[in-house]
């Protein structure tokens, strides 16, 4: 019977240890946890190229992140700021130049099929003027980072205190196709708030609220 006592005590202790360990698994309660979700997008837009190689600032395209709750997916017209001039990768343009020189003809404009999708969406013709006969169609991006409708995440509040984009979105500048890196579960949010309250952010103390009403209202 001594063994029984010991066994039981151990069993109960084991239950609670497992329980508390499990509780640390932040994504545990999300039924459809999308950590690692990286769907194919209608345009093979490369964050690695734009944010990584070309070092375009996150907030160049997602300019609302600093001003609003929503970071926003850029309007197609924002793409045109550059892609009015850049219609294909440099290599392709050079190849065409070389081919043209060789053939002794004028180089033809090269348009990559992915960038062509932008022009299509805006209903532009070959000379990038609005073609009234073509229907404008918004690009249907697939949403990756989502929180439930009862959660209110405010980009503005995070950006203004200096939380980096990468802390939630991961190293997007290295991703060819964007992937959800974090679980975005409540536990993940709360634990980050706790950590920052304890450690401060970039040497400054911060007060990240642990109130329910910080996110749920």
């Amino acid at each position: 019977m001594k063994h029984s006592i010991l066994t039981l005590v151990l069993a109960v202790a084991a239950f609670f240890s497992v329980a508390i360990l499990l509780a640390q698994g932040e994504g545990a309660h999300i039924l459809w946890n999308r950590q690692g979700y990286a769907p194919e997008q209608p345009i093979a837009f490369s964050h690695r190229l734009h944010a990584g190689e070309l070092q375009v600032d996150c907030q160049y395209c997602h300019w609302a992140a600093e001003k609003s709750r929503h970071a926003g997916v850029p309007a197609t017209s924002v793409c045109m700021n550059c892609h009015r001039f850049v219609s294909a990768p440099l290599g392709a343009v050079r190849a065409e130049d070389a081919a043209a020189t060789e053939a002794g003809r004028k180089p033809q404009p090269v348009v990559s099929p992915e960038i062509q999708k932008i022009y299509d969406a805006l209903g532009l013709d070959a000379s990038l003027n609005v073609d009234p006969h073509r229907e404008k169609k918004p690009i249907r991006w697939v949403k990756i980072h989502r929180v439930p409708a009862y959660v209110r995440f405010d980009h503005r509040s995070h950006v203004s205190v200096g939380v980096s984009c990468a802390s939630c979105h991961g190293a997007v500048e290295t991703m060819e196709r964007v992937r959800q890196v974090e679980s975005l579960s409540m536990g993940w949010c709360v634990n980050c708030h706790r950590r920052l309250n304890a450690s401060g952010l970039a040497g400054r103390p911060v007060r990240a609220s642990l109130d329910c009403v910080a996110c749920h209202y």
């Binding site: 499990l22 509780a23 309660h29 709360v190």
Partner: protein, 450 residues
Amino acid sequence: MDQTPLILGDKTPGDVTNDISRLLEGRPTALWWMAFLAALSLLGLGAVAVTYQIATGIGVWGLNNTVGWAFDITNFVFWIGIGHAGTLISAVLFLFRQRWRTSVNRAAEAMTIFAVMCAGLFPLIHMGRPWFAYWMFPYPNGRGPLWVNFRSPLVWDFFAIATYFSISLAFWYLGMVPDLAAVRDRAKGIWKKRIMGFVSLGWNGSYRTWMRYETLYLLLAGLATPLVISVHTIVSWDFATSVIPGWHTTIFPPYFVAGAVFSGMAMVLTLMLIARKTMHLEDYITKTHVGAMTKLILLTGSIVGLSYATEFFVAAYSGNEFEQFVFLNRAMGPFAWAYWTMVACNVITPQLFWIRRVRENFVFVFILTLFVNVGMWFERYVLIVTSLHRDYLPASWAGYSPSLVELATLLGSFGLFFTLFLIFIRFVPVIAMAEVKGVLSIGRRRKNAA
């Protein structure tokens, strides 16, 4: 010790086994079938009502923004109260060495379990989103983790009911093991043998086991006695810890426990009188048993009556206008009919048990126990509804009347209870044979063997 025999008819242990096991072995009687079908249809009605309610919303009940609880919690407290007699008879009377309990404890414990099942149903279905009921349990989660509110009497309730149900079930099953073994050993059919063999855990009547069994039984009785008091105390705290006049009352724990014993005893008696008649258990359930139980009803009924009076006194003495109003409103307000039904059934009619002729007339006893059941249901109804419907701010005062769905759910809970009880009396020894065998000699001259 009581000189009248507990068990009539000069039974031998073998007779007991025969008499009780026989009930499980024949085909069910027409009466049983009728009762079973009636209970089953009530259960079906309740199931339809609950399904409809969960599919549509709590709005199909008659509740409103002022009266947030009514039939649901009334039924819950009512059934929990009923569920108290079983443990009381098994445990408390065991500790007090009341040998008459042996004839009724099995059925009373079964009743407890079924009543607790009925009771447990209501907190579940009364939720707006019952599919999230598991949030009441502090399981590890990925929300931070976010636990539960251990300051909430509803969490206390959850633990109290879970514990009470588990312990009662263990107690019931433990008491049944020797009887199951007896049934196993005389079973004819192979399936019955197998099933009984499985559930009787290889019991063989070894006295080494018996000795520990007796100790364990005593231990469980010792644990269950404070448990039974704690459970209804906690249920009473649902109300007593609130700020609502008429709920916020320190008298509640003893008042509730007495009320629970009162209603539970009445329900046991109701059921036992039915079982006695329909299953021919006249020798096992005798005037002694009924007499003892009616006296307990008389006692607890008087405590309940005193509690009612005390509430009024405390309110009057408090000088608190809200408190005073609530009690005046109970007795003379829109729900006065319910209040006076409660007083008539709980305080006045049980006083008839002072008369021996009433105690010994089983028809009378049966009717009076029904009154008590009705009265105790109304006690909870009065307590919950009258306190809520007119509280602090007159502008928020409202009325309440039950909807058809609520009535159907109440009937359904009775259906569930009786269905389970009828199944129980068909498949499990309805009287604790091993215990009755132990009290055969009481009040009877020792029989000479040979």
